[in-house]
């Protein structure tokens, strides 16, 4: 009974950390999140995505071809709660909560140690990587939970063979949840079947049926492999092409077998970076959307139990449990290591999950070396330090320092523009891209109208056309770059970031500042300027310079 109470407390803590103020922190919503939410909304209302495609295999979005499962599942919360940051993030948050329970069950099943499983569940519940990615509408987080669920069923299938079928189905579905899983799901099932080949071969029926279903579910993605969209991210970010080698190979270009050496070197430099204590415990992911200020995927203190795990190495017996964990850890960073983004945390979530289990083993080892009272005190101190760090970095610094990347100012702008339906706004898309999805999301723009604009652009080339200019006209908001030569002769409001429209430009073009929109910490981010076309034309008339073609009409009025 005590164990169950502890588990309930851990899940409650994990749920609180994932659901508390979910719509406000991260403040705003990232463009990818907005795309998932808006496409779910569009599917709900019209049965088609923003490009007018019925139930696609990859969502084209702003040209990034996202995996579809997250968006499809988001239809339910969007239907129940309406389109909002909360409903868009809910699938991820619930996935994160379920992962805590699954961690407990898997570790318990493998180790038969309820203390270890409780600590593992607790560390998943409070780990920065899990909290951050559970609080954002991230496909990878859903994919990880599906992997964990599938692993649990695979472990159960060792006793109840028929469970191999749902396990294989769920693992295969994870490939529809996140791109990296397309490789990992194949590797994971191969590892599992190989590790337990003797048990499975005794009952080939379930094994075969499970594998057939696994393949059938992945078929739609395989059939699209030739389309540029299906492998767009990989094509853009891998380092395996010869052209990339010629550009970046430096000393290897003139070397015999230089191309091979370059690729091997690149792979291992990327791969090892995912195990680097510097990256894991101190230096966050370089991309602002994927990281928390001053906090990496684990708390710094977790390095101590991480190191302690190594003390177990001399006594280690290569049981199936150890082999499975090691193989899982070694395989998980592979998809992340074959592309050139450094320490791309999103692609390595299964690794962080595995490492959390490793850290929990080290934590238990430390607790064992202390008496019960000291052990509990130490655990409470670390918990207190972790929650304090999380409060400071995630709940205070993140909204204040990252609100721009989450499009928070565009939320404020949308409110303003909706309240001025007779003003024509030109929202600059040159600096911040793609802004259209924030406007569509925050204004709950009618998907049918956006489909009308989009359908004509892609037609039959949904998976082929990779060009995306981000130009849209959403009622009174026109999203495109500002064309100074033309725009100042139209009566409208020019809106852009402080970088897009400088004070000098505003003065030169006789613009009047009408509003400023600040980011969350109060710094001005967007500025709205009113144009004065008549003044320009009168000036041109007085100076006797050739009149702009727009001036004739303006002066006539």
């Amino acid at each position: 009974m005590r164990k169950e109470i502890i588990l309930v407390l851990i899940i409650t803590l994990g749920s609180f950390l994932r659901l508390f103020n979910l719509s406000q922190i991260p403040v705003g919503i990232s463009d990818d999140e907005a795309s998932h939410g808006y496409n779910a909304y569009s599917l709900l209302l019209t049965g088609k995505d923003e490009w007018g495609k019925s139930y696609p295999i990859f969502f084209r979005e702003s040209g990034n071809y996202a995996s579809p499962l997250y968006t499809y599942l988001s239809i339910i919360p969007v239907k129940l709660l309406g389109l909002s940051s909360f409903s868009t993030r809910l699938v991820s948050a619930l996935s994160g909560i379920l992962l805590i329970l699954l961690t407990y069950l898997i570790v318990k099943k493998v180790s038969r140690d309820s203390r270890l499983s409780s600590v593992a569940a607790l560390l998943v519940a409070i780990s920065p990587w899990s909290i951050h990615f559970s609080r954002t509408a991230i496909e990878a987080n859903l994919a990880l939970t599906l992997v964990a669920l599938s692993f649990y069923l695979l472990l159960l299938s060792l006793e109840k063979k028929y469970l191999f079928i749902p396990a294989a189905v769920i693992l295969s579905l994870s490939a529809h949840a996140y791109h990296a899983q397309r490789i990992l799901s194949l590797l994971y099932i191969a590892i599992f079947v190989y590790t337990f080949r003797e048990q499975f071969l005794r009952n080939k029926r379930y094994l075969l049926l499970g594998l057939v279903l696994f393949i059938i579910i992945q078929l739609p993605q395989f059939l699209l492999l030739n389309e540029p969209g299906a492998l767009k991210r990989f094509r853009l970010q891998n380092y395996l092409s010869y052209d990339f080698f010629l550009e970046n190979g430096q000393q290897y270009v003139d070397m015999k077998f230089g191309f091979l050496i370059f690729i091997v070197r690149e792979f291992f430099s990327q791969y090892i970076a995912y195990f680097s204590p510097y990256n894991l415990f101190f230096n966050p992911d370089p991309q602002k959307l994927r990281s928390i200020p001053d906090l990496s995927v684990f708390y710094s203190w977790m390095f101590i139990p991480f190191i302690f795990t190594w003390k177990l190495l001399p006594k280690i017996k290569f049981s199936w449990q150890v082999k499975l964990l090691l193989l899982f850890l070694l395989v998980s960073p592979i998809p992340a290591a074959i592309v050139r983004d450094p320490f791309y945390t999103l692609r390595a979530l299964p690794l962080f999950w595995g490492l959390t289990i490793i850290i929990s083993i080290g934590t238990i080892k430390i607790l064992d070396s202390l008496n019960k009272k000291k052990g509990i005190s130490m655990l409470l101190i670390f918990l207190f330090v972790s929650l304090g760090t999380l409060y400071s970095t995630y709940f205070i610094l993140l909204p204040n320092e990252r609100s721009e990347v989450y499009g928070y100012p565009y939320q404020e702008f949308t409110k303003l523009a909706l309240n001025s339906p007779f003003t024509h706004f030109v929202l600059d898309s040159e600096i911040s891209f793609p802004t259209y999805i924030w406007i569509a999301f925050y204004s709950k723009f009618d998907p049918r109208k956006i489909q009308d604009i989009s359908e004509t652009r892609v037609g039959e080339n949904y998976y082929i056309g990779l060009q995306f200019d981000g130009k849209y006209l959403l009622d009174n908001i026109e999203i495109r770059p500002i064309y100074w030569i033309d725009d100042i002769y139209k009566d409208q409001m020019l809106v852009g970031t402080t970088l897009a429209i400088s004070q000098k430009q505003a003065k030169e073009h006789k613009l009047t500042k009408i509003f400023e929109i600040a980011n969350y910490s109060g710094e001005t981010y967007l500025i709205g300027y009113k144009t004065h076309p008549k003044d320009h034309c009168i000036q041109e008339l007085n100076e006797k310079v050739p009149l702009n073609p727009h001036c004739e009409k303006i002066l006539k009025n």
């Binding site: 070197r265 291992f268 430099s269 990327q270 090892i272 970076a273 195990f275 680097s276 204590p277 510097y278 990256n279 415990f281 101190f282 230096n283 370089p286 001053d294 710094s300 390095f303 190594w310 003390k311 190495l313 001399p314 050139r340 983004d341 450094p342 320490f343 304090g388 400071s392 205070i396 610094l397 204040n400 910490s521």
Partner: protein, 212 residues
Amino acid sequence: MKYLIFFSIVLSNYWFWRILKHNFLVALLLLLITFLLFITIKKRYYLLIFATITIASILVLILIRSDFDKTLFLHTQEEIHSLNQRRSYYPKNIGAIFQNKFNLSLYKFKRNIFANLDLNMYFFANHPRERGNISDFEKFSPFLIPAFIIGMLLSIKNKNQILLSYFLFSLLISGIFSINSYLGPIFFFVLICILSSQGIAYVIFKLISGNR
């Protein structure tokens, strides 16, 4: 044989020659520490351990004059501004608990320690996460990594207390040295050389015994 492997690793890397070119005395002391520690692994001569500690202490004293991280305690105007800015984000006066000079110093100390635990810095000139304003260089050949990992696993398996003590010493002492140091975290030079040579020796031994 093992001495041949050891010296070929110590002398065949770019890092050692860079140190030698920059400061002959430091290179000599480093070579001595590496060699003494290499001997002490197998045979625990207390005199050698004492000599290693003495030379390492001298090396710390030499380096502390040039490479001590003054930024640990001297914060720039920009850092103070950022600290005050961040403090204003917190409700009431809670900000002072999280954003203060002590925490800033602690942050830099941790940065110095963790930066030195990054294998990419030693084997890939910090690629793929190159650091701005720091001229990283490939200290050892990446092809040495498997040997280094084998050596590390062996020393963990053998519960080598001397290497573990030296590792902890290097780790803590590196916290007070600047990550901008021209020579790099030289105390880790000793560990990488010893562990890599142990790894290579182990592989060769296995290959020879396998062939017999």
